[in-house]
């Protein structure tokens, strides 16, 4: 699969981020400059250039839906061998150490996990397994629960710029259009010089240009979630965290949103971490699925999902088997939501 450059010249080969929570501190170090120098010229976007690049990239990437075979060929040059770890050849870029420390001092050392470059990692677990807390910690919204209580319990000032996140709640501002919602992250936080075409390029790549001038209330839930995801992507983060995106969707909309996630991942080639309770959807999108236990912050196992991509429309053979295996893993957790 050829790497796709954003039209505004950012690299898509992600900078490495190393995330090590512990000792009450929580840092995201981004050594992108040393490992992956930015490629391409700095942004010299004009409308025509951007739209041309979008159209070429879209034809490269997403051929007409009535021709799924070519789509598979385009997306799936690195289709994994059956049974192989699909992310085997990828280097770990994000080292999660003691993420359980976010949940409380007694949970220190609980979840330790390497997230690999360009990987789609899902963490499934029942309610109360600490998914949201982990996400908020990784996003910089919360510090680890400190051993020493007191004044430093206040939340972190802001997340590292290389992490984008999408919360479980609907967070699009209803008084802004889709395009204005995507402008917002580019205009705050000390950023002044914004190329408006940056947003349109992203919207075009994700197929959202038609709804760019609509308000969130006019969109179906699934499209709203997709817009939220693109807002998480608009600052070009190296790691994208997604919390429970399937909440409030019926079965077919879940499938469709999972397809969307797969498509966005194929287009942007970012590292995704998705936290959900929906095992079927997790298996649909993930390269690996981590199973969390009901008692907060214990990682039971990590299951490789070696299924061919794209997994849209019909379930690929073998999906049921993986779902079955994950369900067995959390067999002693009756609270887990299963939709299959």
């Amino acid at each position: 699969m050829p790497k796709i450059a954003y039209p505004w010249g950012h690299c898509v080969k992600w900078p490495a981020a190393i995330i090590v929570p512990g000792n009450g501190s929580f840092t995201v170090s981004d050594d992108s400059e040393t490992r992956h120098p930015r490629v391409g010229p700095p942004c010299t976007c004009r409308r025509e250039t951007v739209l041309n690049q979008i159209s070429t990239q879209l034809t490269d990437l997403a051929p007409a839906p009535e021709n799924p075979a070519s789509q598979i060929a385009a997306w799936d040059e690195e289709s994994p061998r059956p049974g192989a770890d699909p992310a085997e050849h990828l280097v770990p870029v994000i080292l999660l150490r003691d993420v359980g420390a976010l949940l409380g001092p007694d949970r220190a050392g609980a979840v330790t996990l390497d997230v690999r470059e360009d990987e789609f990692l899902c963490l499934v677990g029942p309610a109360g397994s600490g998914k949201t807390t982990m996400l908020r910690g990784l996003a910089g919204l919360e510090r680890p629960a400190p051993a020493a209580r007191g004044r430093n319990r206040r939340p972190a000032a802001g997340h590292a710029p290389s992490v984008g996140f999408m919360l479980a709640e609907s967070t699009l501002f209803p008084w802004l259009t889709v395009r204005q919602n995507l402008w917002l992250p580019l205009r705050v936080g000390g950023r002044r010089k914004v190329d408006p075409w940056q947003v349109d390029a992203l919207l075009g790549m994700l197929g959202l240009l038609e709804v760019a001038n609509l308000f969130p209330a006019d969109l179906p839930v699934r499209t709203r979630r997709l817009v939220e995801l693109s807002r998480a992507l608009v600052r070009d983060p190296s790691l994208v965290l997604i919390d429970e995106p399937f909440r409030g969707l019926d079965f077919s909309a879940r499938r469709a949103l999972a397809d969307d996630l797969e498509r966005v991942r194929a287009i942007t080639r970012k590292t995704f971490m998705l936290f959900t309770r929906d095992i079927t959807a997790a298996v649909h999108v993930a390269d690996r699925v981590g199973v969390l236990s009901a008692d907060a912050g214990r990682l039971l196992d990590v299951v490789n999902v070696a299924l061919p991509r794209p997994r849209r429309a019909a379930s690929p053979p073998g999906q049921a088997g993986v779902v079955q295996r994950i369900m067995e893993l959390c067999g002693d957790q009756p609270r887990i939501a299963v939709t299959c």
Binding site: R136, A139, G140, L141, P155, A157, G158, H159, P161, G164, F165, L167, E169, T171, F173, P174, W175, L176, L184, P185, R187, V188, G189, G190, F215, P216, A217, R235
Partner: protein, 238 residues
Amino acid sequence: MSGRGPLLGLAGIVCGLACWQGLAPLVMLPAPCAVVTALANVPPASCDPGTDQMALLSLTLSSALGGWLIGGLVGFVLGLLLVESRLANRLLMPWVRMPASLPGAVAAFILAWYAWPDGPAALLAAWLALFPVAVATVAGLRAVPPHWLDVMRGFSASPLETFLALRLPAAAPQLFAGLRRALATALAAAAAAGFLRAPPSAAGLFLLAAICGLLHAALDWTGRHLLRNAAPGRPLLR
């Protein structure tokens, strides 16, 4: 509905006036026809400015609007202080609770204390307009969903940016509701103050009511068009 709304409203007003005309002998107020005749017969420039109904009306209106603007502004700043600063909250909250329940009867005292003609009415209007706006500001700013604030924090937005981009627009519907309430209060206060100064006439009252209705409609229209996308269940103000 939106197309027929104004027409139906007009029809309602006409029906109400007709009922009033029919029932006029039973109530204390003169019939609308008598009011219109009286308005038509107002001398262009009355010799006594103290009893000139038109001058009184304009005085009442200007003091109501001035008081509303000043009270609204001060109320907004007060609400902001109450939300932003815990110290200000502790210090000012008793004061906010106490005078908000001041009865309109203090108008007489205020009128007696201050000598200059239109000052007291505006002062009273501002005083009574201040609290609805302050309370609405506090309620609006406190009601911003926390995950929206999380999103702004994720963008590492400064407090000022968060305020301008998120908290102010999110609080705007409540703020507008407070401003509407404050306008009604300010008009009532200014009218009461005017009555204490000179005996009211039915014609003046009638005009004042009509102008009140127009002002409310104008404020409604502004709010509806400013806030038409403020929440999922739009339009927000009905």
